[in-house]
């Protein structure tokens, strides 16, 4: 008397029913808030919405205006510079710090805390701190001048040409600690025996790192990459606190354009068009990568 359950495999939909019910709120949130909100934004980016959303369609007008706006172009360039450099530098510096930390040094805990500490500060605090450090009248420049080098000039935040690098320094200072910690965890996950084998074979340490350890740390690198990249695209508060986009519009970023036009200029349509462009940029980068990463092989 065991065939009350029909023969064959049970309906897949009802497998693990409890966990599926538990997931419903999250699924709804994802669908309604993320997907729904995205679709809504894209639709309204084709309208002439002012302070309040209005469904008067104007075709591609908002996009034409967006790409004709010098401030948007500068924002995109800044994001590209900031993005590429902060990706490279935070990975390289983070990995080197982690490798140094992995040499069984004394006071490792202390150093780790020191390096990770900036990450505990918000971007607003980071921005303000670096605004002061880079301020020519109180910061680095005045300190060096007071030592005796009276011709020393270092005022990146007041020079339109290099202001974005001033922002980059602050961003790296804040973010590298976390990268270091992730990398260190990855390094600790490498089996001691591999190091021993490499030593027996007489492979120099730098080659072991470069050709054996780093390829083994692929999952850690991917996690780190995703974390850094998402931080780059949404960079906003750092710029607001450190330069407010200045001097002039030299350190503007796309997220700030979106906010300023949606709320200060009372032009939601323009802001939506800009945020849709940000979404498309991210999609162009993420979709091919995700396809390569997850699409190629069958998962067991």
């Amino acid at each position: 008397m065991r065939s009350t359950v029909p023969a064959g495999r049970p309906n897949r939909l009802f497998r693990n029913l409890n966990s599926k019910i538990a997931l419903i709120p999250m699924i709804l949130t994802a669908l309604v808030v993320f997907l729904g909100g995205t679709v809504w934004t894209v639709v309204y980016s084709f309208t002439r919405s002012g302070l309040l959303p209005r469904l008067t369609f104007v075709g591609l007008d908002q996009y034409e205006r967006l790409w004709a706006a010098p401030r948007w172009i500068i924002s995109i360039q800044n994001l590209a510079i900031y993005g590429v450099l902060s990706l490279i530098f935070s990975l390289v510096i983070g990995f080197i710090l982690a490798a140094l930390m992995d040499q069984k040094i004394r006071f490792e805990n202390t150093f780790r805390t020191i390096f990770l500490y900036p990450f505990a500060l918000s971007f607003i605090v980071t921005g303000l701190v670096w605004q002061w450090i880079l301020n020519p009248e109180f910061g680095v420049q005045s300190v060096v001048r007071s030592i005796g080098f009276t011709n020393f000039t270092f005022d990146p935040l007041y020079n339109s040409q290099i202001v974005i690098y001033g922002v980059l320094i602050a961003g790296l200072w804040q973010g590298t600690g976390l990268v270091m910690c992730l990398m260190l965890a990855g390094l600790r996950g490498i089996d001691e025996d591999i190091w021993k084998a490499a030593r027996v074979d007489g492979i120099p340490m730098w080659r072991t790192y470069l050709f054996i350890v780093i390829p083994m740390m692929r999952p850690v690198f991917i996690t780190t990459l995703v974390l850094i990249a998402s931080g780059i695209v949404k960079v906003y508060d750092l710029v607001v606190a450190q330069t407010s986009g200045g001097p002039g519009i030299a350190s503007e970023v796309p997220a700030k354009y979106v906010y300023d036009y949606m709320f200060q200029a009372q032009n939601l349509g323009q802001g939506f068009a800009a945020s849709t462009m940000m979404l498309i940029t991210v999609a162009i980068i993420v979709i091919p990568w995700a396809y390569l990463e997850f699409g190629g092989k069958k998962r067991g």
Binding site: G50, L51, P70, G246, A250, Y259, Q266
Partner: protein
């Protein structure tokens, strides 16, 4: 046990506001946070508290550009405050059209605002479809050049009588190690400086042709080109200011580190707070000493539509307190702005305010750019001028071409 204790504390904190509901609390949001401004707000709060209600101060730091989005999202998001500051003009236009703001026509009729408020344009900016939606609190004009007498003395030149003399005195100031023109980095300051040059150097006709009629031939023509040349002069004089907020720039003039600043008459409050005396410590040139016209923008209070009848009553009380002659005098003396009614006694006003009042009495007033242009157009102008004033490579001609495009596309 601890949970019960916590619950009791929570309950108490919820009960607390209900305990003194006798006087109606009204939250008022504004962006008056500099020293002189805060002193003026206190006068307003005092007068409102005296009417038997309670002023809950909702100051938002960081100037209007930061504050307005917060106010608007609170109103549209269903968490309206009791009353809020805006500049009169088009900033709150869409909120009114969406039916989110309260109609004040009853109060205005009862207190005869139409008769007492001057210039008439002020009330007109509050009027949409024949109904009055805001209570103007002061008149602010942008067209002032503030000068530090000490700075010019140190440089060994006479205090300029107009903009041209000021530009000519620039090199002497620079030689004495003084910043000739202080200009903060916030975009609205560069924008306001340019509009001031437009009125004061170009005159009334040019200003109306450009911003009111949006006449294409004029905007691309030689007269506006002259204004851009003047803006180029200002750009050279302002190089190296390195401060953000307007009151920091004003402070440079107060301390004699800078020769002058083009800023609205709200700067006056800062001079007053620093204990400086008009005429002896600092000088002011309305209309930059050339064309004595003032724009009559300013601040007004708007009242979101509220369901609670007690609060609605308190809103009415606040509206009449704002227009009341006594409040007008107390508030505007501290703020350095001009009162919205002509029948008050400003005997205590200083030289600069008296100059402003005289221009007002003559009727040499123009509508401000906040009233003529939408927030969207103003923002685009801000982007243009903050880039222009920070850049060394952008030519006046290139800036004029972009300016023409922005005004042509204005709605």
């Amino acid at each position: 046990m601890r949970l019960q204790y916590l619950a009791a504390v929570l309950a108490a904190s919820v009960m607390l506001p209900a305990a003194h509901a006798g006087a109606t609390d009204l939250e008022v949001t504004h962006w008056w946070t500099s020293g002189g401004e805060a002193a003026a707000v206190k006068e307003l709060a005092k007068a409102f508290d005296a009417s038997g209600n309670k002023w809950i101060d909702g100051a938002i730091a960081g100037s209007g550009g930061t504050a307005r989005p917060i106010m608007i999202s609170r109103i549209t998001g269903g968490d309206p405050m009791g009353a809020t500051q805006f500049n009169h003009g088009r900033q709150a236009q869409e909120l009114v059209q969406a039916g989110l703001m309260r109609d004040l026509t009853d109060v205005a009729k009862r207190e005869n605002w139409e008769k007492i408020i001057r210039p008439a344009g002020l009330l007109k900016s509050c009027t949409i479809d024949g109904k009055i939606y805001c209570a103007p609190v002061n008149i602010h004009s942008w067209q002032w050049l503030w000068l530090s007498n000490a700075a010019f003395k140190k440089a060994g030149v006479d205090v300029p009588k107009n903009w041209n003399e000021f530009v000519a005195a620039g090199p002497a100031l620079q030689k004495a190690g003084i910043q000739p023109l202080a200009l903060g980095g916030q975009p609205w300051q560069a924008n306001g400086l340019f509009d001031t040059l437009m009125i004061s150097l170009g005159g009334k006709d040019l200003y109306t042709k450009v911003y009111q009629d949006k006449d294409k031939a004029t905007i691309t023509g030689p007269e506006v080109a002259k204004i851009f040349k003047a803006a180029d002069d200002a750009r050279k004089l302002s190089k190296g200011t390195n401060v953000q907020d307007w009151n920091q720039a004003t402070n440079m003039v107060i301390t004699g580190k800078a020769g002058g600043q083009v800023m609205g008459d709200w700067a006056q409050g800062e001079f007053q707070l620093a204990g400086q005396k008009a005429g002896t410590d600092y000088s002011c040139l309305p209309g930059l000493g050339l064309n004595e016209y003032l724009t009559t923008g300013g601040d007004a209070f708007y009242f979101p539509l509220l369901k609670d009848p007690a609060k609605a009553k308190a809103q009415e009380a606040l509206a009449s307190v704002i227009v009341d002659p006594k409040t007008q005098v107390a508030f505007n003396l501290k703020k350095g702005s001009l009162p919205i009614r002509g029948d008050v006694d400003l005997g205590a006003a200083n030289d600069c305010m008296k100059k402003g009042l005289a221009i007002l009495d003559k009727g040499s007033v123009l509508t401000s750019t906040d009233q003529l242009l939408s927030a969207d157009t103003q923002k685009q102008k801000e982007d243009l001028f903050s880039e222009f004033f920070a850049s060394t490579s952008m030519t006046p001609e290139a800036a004029q071409a972009r300016f023409a495009k922005i005004v042509a596309a204005a709605d």
